[in-house]
């Protein structure tokens, strides 16, 4: 692309193709290119290099929503983790807990996925690895009851942070979204202000359905931030741009692997660079 010496329709098509193939979505790409094309018409962009720079600025604008730091003066600080099936909720919780422990904080985990086979065992295995106790009930217990017990334990044990794992659920399943609303309410009943953070997990390989996921999870649980997982694959995670620009919800973290160290803070500039690499 940098080899081209003039801005021509082919160059614009090529750039559009890159963004669509990055899962940025037709509407978002069209909006961005409306801006770009008007800049080109007004002769504000001299060459392909300037065009590419302008494009990156447009993308950065959409992605640079800075999340406020988590206020750990709230004790316990309660994080509720939600998302559809298989996106990486449980693994991201382990990574986050490990990170917080490295910062010297005490962490309690709550196994509120009472539905899926071996979900509790999975979180317990992670809990042992990172040194965080896990509050659990038996399989098919009421997740709200586990959430409530988790809050009681967090207060009793005077922990700094408590992270609640929930079952994967499709955002279109009304009864499951109602269950999530109930879990959220119950957390707040026991600890005023809880949950202080509602983290939506999105899989970077997901296409436009991520927008529907973000909307419906936000309606049900009031999402405060997002973690975008599996960016160590070849998917670019362009859905992030549509979601942050449309819903103004910040992306806090990215997942780049299956180990407990594989969590990074989201860096919009790095993300934009990766779109074009």
């Amino acid at each position: 692309l940098l080899g081209r010496r003039t801005i021509d329709p082919e160059l614009l098509d090529e750039l559009e193709e890159i963004l669509i193939m990055a899962d940025m979505g037709v509407e978002t790409v069209q909006n961005i290119f409306e801006q770009i094309r008007s800049d080109v018409r007004r002769n504000e962009l001299k060459d392909p290099k300037a065009l590419r720079q302008r494009l990156k600025e447009c993308l950065l604008e959409r992605l640079s929503i800075q999340p406020p730091d988590m206020d750990f003066r709230q004790k316990p600080f309660v994080i509720l983790v939600v998302g559809v099936n298989g996106v990486g909720k449980t693994t991201t919780i382990a990574k986050l807990a490990h990170n917080l422990k490295k910062q010297g904080k005490s962490v309690l985990l709550v196994a509120a996925d009472t539905f899926r086979a071996a979900a509790v065992e999975q979180l317990e295995a992670w809990g042992r690895r990172i040194g965080a106790p896990v509050i659990k009930h038996g399989m098919n217990a009421d997740p709200s009851a586990v959430a409530y017990d988790g809050m009681e334990a967090a207060v009793k044990r005077n922990v700094d942070v408590v992270i609640v794992d929930t079952a994967g659920r499709l955002h279109t399943k009304v009864n499951l979204m109602e269950e999530l609303k109930k879990i959220r309410r119950v957390l707040g009943k026991k600890i005023p202000g809880a949950p202080h953070e509602v983290l939506l997990i999105l899989d970077a390989t997901t296409g436009q359905n991520a927008i529907s996921q973000a909307r419906l999870f936000n309606e049900a649980a009031r999402i405060t931030s997002i973690a975008l997982t599996k960016l160590d694959g070849t998917a670019k995670g362009g859905i992030a741009a549509s979601i942050t620009s449309e819903m103004k919800i910040p992306i806090r973290y990215i997942g780049i692997g299956e180990g407990m160290e594989d969590l990074r803070p989201f860096d919009p500039a790095e993300f934009v660079e990766a779109l074009f690499s």
């Binding site: 539905f115 086979a117 997901t206 070849t234």
Partner: protein, 292 residues
């Protein structure tokens, strides 16, 4: 929806007798947008539109249909043809016990699908044996054991820390001795670009020689579906696909992308978290979702 948008695009077409390059241009543009919104891969869409254009140009507009309806009919037909008209079941002939190997990206639904397939096969009178060959993910072995218990299907007693290839080999021998006729191997989720893990899968395949190597793919996968499917097919060789989580509102364009790039049939779809939520693939359902 698409038919509404095509009606608008073709408003000016009333009174013309034939579909031509010019008059279907805008209509095809609407189809392209709908397909991209449905997550069909950019390049697959390009090829698809080209073949639709070829079939549409020169066609007489039928009296019973509006031009929009006619174009939709051509698109729908082409989509069904591409997705695969006939249900292609599991090929379990040849050496017994038959072996089915499941592979795919992390979290796509392999372990759940393994149990669903076991339940399906049991219902068809076969005697399945579930093999947990994922020794990496915490509690993965427990997960398959728990699912196996739910449907009363025997699960291989995999020891954590064993080698996946050895597990697979031993499981097939054990199944033969126990007179179980269908071995279903659940493997660890892996990236298509992880050379070591793709190589492990290749080794496993050459040792157990499965009749079926099924790519388990998430229906909400975006543009990368082409990349993923291509790598799994080129490096491992797949015989079919299971598309999971289709009961949500994902448009499922990945189905067309995967089919277009590998030519392999989508054999089953996952339509829920419970073990009875597995259906033989029917192109109509997915075609209608992609068309929106």
């Amino acid at each position: 929806n698409l038919s509404g948008r095509l009606d608008a695009a073709f408003k000016r077409l009333k009174g013309y007798g034939k579909l031509s390059e010019e008059n279907i241009q805008e209509g095809l543009r609407e189809v392209r947008l709908a397909f991209l919104e449905a997550d069909v891969n950019y390049k697959v869409v390009k090829d698809f539109i080209a073949s639709v254009r070829e079939k549409a140009v020169g066609q007489e507009v039928m009296d019973s249909l509006t031009p929009a309806q006619q174009v939709i009919k051509i698109v729908h037909e082409e989509l069904i043809n591409l997705l695969g008209r006939k249900f292609q079941g599991l090929n379990l002939a040849g050496r017994q016990p038959a072996v089915i190997m499941l592979a795919g990206l992390q979290g796509s639904g392999k372990t759940t699908t393994a149990a669903k397939l076991a339940r399906w096969l049991k219902g068809k009178g076969r005697r399945p044996y579930l093999v947990p060959a994922d020794v990496y993910r915490p509690a993965a072995i427990d997960q398959l054991k728990s699912l196996g218990a739910q449907i009363k299907v025997e699960v291989h007693p995999t020891e954590p820390g064993a080698s996946p290839v050895d597990i697979a080999r031993q499981a097939v021998s054990k199944a033969a001795l126990a007179n179980l006729d269908t071995v279903i191997i659940d493997t660890a989720g892996r990236l298509h670009v992880d050379e070591a893990l793709m190589s492990e899968l290749k080794d496993m395949k050459s040792v157990v020689e499965p009749q079926e190597t099924l790519l388990v793919a998430d229906a909400m996968t975006g543009q990368d579906a082409v990349n993923i499917a291509n790598h799994f097919d080129k490096e491992i060789g797949i015989t079919g696909v299971v598309l999971t989580k289709l009961e949500g509102d994902a448009r499922g364009g990945a189905a067309l992308s995967i089919r277009a790039v590998t030519g392999r049939p989508i054999k089953f779809v996952g339509v829920g978290e419970k073990l009875d939520a597995l259906e033989p693939f029917h192109p109509d359902r997915v075609a209608n979702r992609i068309l929106g």
